[in-house]
Amino acid sequence: MKIILNNREEEFDKEPITVSDMLEVKRFTYKMRIIKINGVLIQKDRYDETLIHSGDNVQMLYLMSGG
């Protein structure tokens, strides 16, 4: 399936996948992040159960200390 990840098209072998699957496949290991799917914020404790479907718009934002 194809999804939009941070405004770029990304392809995954199966559909649907969980948020945790996506993070593992893409090797996104940095923990401080915000994830929104189709404009809805996904809380950390829901990553294992939240599904990403074909055509979904996934936005990920890394949070860096400093300010």
Binding site: M32, R33, I34, K36, G39, L41, Q43, Q59, L61, Y62, L63, M64, S65, G66, G67
Partner: protein
């Protein structure tokens, strides 16, 4: 459009600023100079000498609450700006109470865990309020890496999204200043768009 007209329009709005450090203090000053009518500023911290390398405070204000000092400094720019100061630590519980009624919010914390907490709380408990986040501004140089990204109608991020502050990569006035002013620029952009709607 003349600046006096822009200022008159911006004076109708209320902007929330979570944190009054490098991002918050400089962003607040830029918004005050632009004419935003009300600023709701929350920070429990006290000014230390080390803060003066980037924050909008002065030597004689060391030891003061940041919210008190910022109120004082902004009143020297424009005494008509209404500052609602909350010298408290922000939590998931008090954020919705402190910032309800704001037209836009600025995330201006320094610690990543706090940024995450604020973004989650605002997006879930204060739906409809656009939030402008700062992420990635440590060190110096590499200006071209600093950008502004609209994630959706309610979430924006300013910064390089990659550099983290450490002992060898401290936060410094130029890059923190750029990001805080980018955040202010997004706030002004969001508020100026409301002008078109009102016609």
């Amino acid at each position: 459009m003349k600046f006096t007209e822009i200022k008159r329009h911006l004076s109708k709005f209320r902007v929330g600023i979570a944190g009054a450090g490098g991002l918050g203090s400089n962003c607040a000053a830029a918004l005050a100079r632009s004419g935003v009518g009300t600023l709701v500023i929350a920070d429990f911290d006290i000014i230390e000498e080390i803060n003066l390398n980037r924050q909008f405070y002065f030597c004689d204000q060391v030891g003061m609450l940041k919210t008190d000092a910022l109120k004082e400094n902004i009143s020297k720019i424009d005494r008509n700006i209404n500052i609602i100061a909350h010298p408290v630590e922000l939590t998931r519980e008090n954020i919705p109470l402190i910032f309800s009624g704001c037209d836009v919010m600025v995330e201006a914390f320094d610690i990543a865990v706090m940024k995450e907490m604020l973004i989650e709380t605002v997006q879930l408990s204060l739906p409809g309020i656009p939030l402008v986040v700062g992420s990635g501004m440590a060190g110096w140089g590499n200006s071209e890496a600093i950008k502004c990204r609209k994630i959706d109608e309610f979430l924006w991020v300013c910064g390089d999204e990659s550099t983290e502050v450490s002992e060898d990569i401290p936060p410094m006035a130029p890059r923190v200043g750029i990001v805080s002013h980018m955040q202010a620029n997004v706030v002004v952009e969001i508020l100026m768009k409301k002008l078109k709607i009102s016609f």
